[in-house]
Structures are given as C-alpha cells and as structure tokens.
Symmetry: C2
Subunit: 266 residues, 2 copies
C-alpha cells in the first residue's frame, strides 16, 4: 500500500490549490470480492466535492439528442439523466465522470412498469439536484413539472426520428396518466413501437427544457403555475386547511382521480 | 500537470491486479469555475466500475436506523437511499464512497411536494439498481412495491422514536395516496410533526425490507403479487388487450382513481 499512499499524497499536494484528492486502485471488482474488499477498506477511498457541482451553460439541443439516444439504451429515466449528466461529463469532466448514471435505469415506465412518476422527470430531477443549488433547484423542478403537465408534448423532434409523433397533454407527472392520454389521443397501443418513440421524444423534450431552465438558474420564471382549481382544493386539504390531509402542494389537476360531484356537500 | 500524471500512473500500476485508477486533484470547486474547468478537462478523470457494485450481506436494522436518521437530514428519498448506500459505503468502501447520495434529496414528498412516487421507494429503487444485477433487481423492486401497497405501514419502530405511530395501508406507491390514507386513518394533519415521524418510520421500514430482499437476491420470492383485480383490468387495458392503453403492468389497485361503476358496459 505504500506506493498508493505515496501517489495519493502526490495527487493531493502536486497541484496548487488542490482541495480534494481522489485515488483508488484497489482492484475492487463486482465479481471478485472476498479478498479485495478488505484491501478496499484500507485503501484511501475516493472523495467527491459537495453538491452542487459546476454547471456551465449547456446546449439544449445537444442534451435532447443525447437523451433521445440514451432512451433507447436504458429507458426514460436513464435517458433524461444521461442526456444531462452526459453533457456535463463532456463539458466539465470530473466530478461528473464518477456518476454511475446507469443506476437510473430503474425509473423506466414509472419504475420498472409500475407507472408511477414519469421516468424522464425522475431522471431530470436527479440531474437538477446535482447541478443546481438550494435556492434554484426546486424552482427549476416546479416549472419543469408544471410545463410537463400543461403543454402539448412532446415538444422536441429528434434529428433522425423513427416515426412522426403527434402530441397530447399529460395533465399529470405520472407515467400511467401521461402514456394513457397519449394512447387515447393517437390510437396507438401502450406497448407499440410508436409509443416507445413518443416517450423517446418526450425524454428528449424534458432534457431540452431542463437545460433551458438550468441555463437561466436563478432567473427562472414560473411560466406554468399550479392551476387555480388545485389551489382551491388545497385551501381546505393543504397546509392549515380545515381538512389538512394532502401532503402534495403542487399538482396539475385533482379531477383526473377525484370526482368533484362526489365531494361532500355537493 | 506533470506531478498529477505521475501520481496517476503510480496509482494505476502500484498495486498488482489494478484494473481501474481514480485520480483527480484539479481544484474544481462549485464556486470557482472559470479557470479550473479547463484544467479539469485536461486532468485524468475518475473512473468507476460498471454496475452492479459489490453487495455483501447487510444488517437490516442498521440500515433502518441509518435511514431514520437520514430522513431528518434530507427527506424520505435521501433517507432510504443513504440508509442503504451508507451501509454499503461503510461495509464495502469504494466505489460506494463516490456516490453523491445528497442528490436524492429531490424525491422528498413525491419530488419537492408534487406527491408523486413515495420518496422512500424512489431512493430504495436507486440503491437496488446500484447493488443488484439485471436478473434480480426488478424482482426485488416488484416485491418491495407490492409489500408497500398491501401491508400495514410502517413496520419498523426506531430505537428512539419521537412519537408512537399508528399504521395504515397505502394501497399505492404514490406519496399523496400513502400520506392521505395515513392522515385519514389516524386523524393527524399532513404537515404535522407526527406525519413527518410516520414518514421517517416508513423510510426506515422501506430500507429494512429492501435489505432483507437484497440479502436473498436471486432467491427473492414475490410474496405480494399484483392483485387479481388489477390483472383483470389489464387483461383488456394491458399488453395485447382489446384496449391496450395502459403502460403500467403492475399496481395495487385501479379503483382508487377509476370508479368501476363508470366503466362502459356496466
């Protein structure tokens, strides 16, 4: 271990102004653990800087194209996340080089087919929390989710599409609602290649709009606010309401799941 | 840069069997980008092994306690993710040392208050995709989500709780549904400290059950399958159905949002 300790010290002291060092050569492989694990615990472990990491201006279309390609390599969540982090990896380098973006494959189809949160939004949100600070990141997410629920999507047509894709309004950040509304609007089946292409365009669209928002950061304006119909429901069901039983304080609409005609007192 | 190149070569060659090196000392700081970015691009960037990363047996209760504490440090998604990754960081070391788990704070309250996917599930899913292979990871997630929707939660009581917490059945992996059902069952408000404590217990419960599943990995059994009421709906609305407009192929129930009495033909 002496050689490694030496090199770590050199890495830490060899460059003026170095504030963190990053060395690991412990031979740790996912398929050969038993002996190397002990060595890894003794070896100096990698250190990464605290979040947020540097964010330069990115090219929205480059992120969109990268996201479109990544969708077909690992699904919607990986697609949007890799679209953004991949651009940062190429532009900034370390520390983005150490992010295992493949982990985000779990978010496909609202998490491996559970139809919950749209994976493109899930993956973009993770990237936003890597590259934006605590004064701007929630505003970027709020505008992204508001835009997603209220605009006709997808908004981005990739340079070499597999099919031409018509739009629909998702009305919700949920995969199941978003996809079903598109299927109902276009007549395509949920497991069709056209639906996959729609989600690839959508992943690209989310990556592109996220870059446009991140490029503005502190100056981001909320152009797609929570609709009045939702804030009206939350006046009673949200914070300090007479029936404060809803933790969500943002949504595009309540009516898709809750029938206003069935509300007590109606 | 010569000293850094030297140290990188030493790190790469100084230990027998080394297959990846990891050196960065470029002075990259999130608040001082202009000059250091160029240097970072030239510097040797860190490399991490492909997923999945090593998974030894973990202690479910240790992960639960770590998740409970992390909930109060960064919310539900960070709580579950850090509960799991933190145990792996301590047990395995590198490469877990390079994961910036703080990025997962975005998932709090179903992503910064949007009430979508339960953050504990979101954070656990990310950890599962880091530490489990492509033959086991989706099965672990399916059982985790099925358990979450069908069991009375939370199942884990932390060693030093702030309050005692009653249980409810979430019926859904969504934050909004899960929290509202607990509020309605217990009478506590959605923004109350008791509700936060319930979500802290829940985060701990999710981390604990995830460890129990990961400890079995390939041997995991699906004890909480998709209910027949859902597969019945999907017979028409899912893959190859006469009205294939639903992308989700797993859910705990359709009735919370869709009134069966309103189905055409009824």
């Amino acid at each position: 271990m002496d050689g490694m300790e030496m090199s770590r010290r050199q890495a830490l002291t060899g460059i003026g102004g170095v504030v963190f060092g990053f060395v690991a050569g412990s031979g740790l492989m996912s398929t050969a653990l038993s002996t190397s694990l002990a060595g890894a615990q003794e070896a100096p472990m990698g250190e990464v800087p605290s979040l947020p990491w540097p964010y330069p201006q990115l090219d929205p279309e480059a992120a969109a194209e990268r996201a479109y390609a990544a969708y077909y390599a690992g699904g919607c969540m990986y697609g949007a996340h890799e679209g953004l982090i991949g651009e940062l990896r190429e532009t900034v380098g370390f520390p983005y080089t150490v992010l295992p973006t493949r982990m985000m494959e779990y978010g496909k189809a609202g998490v491996v087919g559970w139809g919950t949160l749209c994976g493109a939004l899930n993956g973009a949100s993770g990237a936003i929390y890597v590259a934006s600070n605590d004064k701007t990141r929630d505003k970027v997410i709020d505008e992204l989710y508001g835009w997603y629920g209220q605009e006709a999507l997808p908004t981005y047509r990739p340079q070499i599409p597999k099919f031409e894709i018509d739009t629909s309004t998702a009305t919700s950040p949920l995969c199941h609602v978003s996809v079903t509304r598109w299927c109902n609007a276009t007549g395509f089946k949920a497991l069709s290649p056209e639906r996959a292409e729609r989600c690839a365009w959508l992943t690209a669209s989310v990556a592109k709009y996220t870059v446009e928002l991140l490029n503005e950061q502190a100056g981001v304006a909320i152009a797609h606010a929570v609709p009045a119909a939702v804030t009206q429901c939350l006046a009673c069901h949200g914070r300090s309401g007479v029936k404060e039983n809803v933790h969500a304080n943002k949504m595009i609409g309540c009516a898709p799941c809750h029938d206003p005609a069935k509300h007590p007192g109606r």
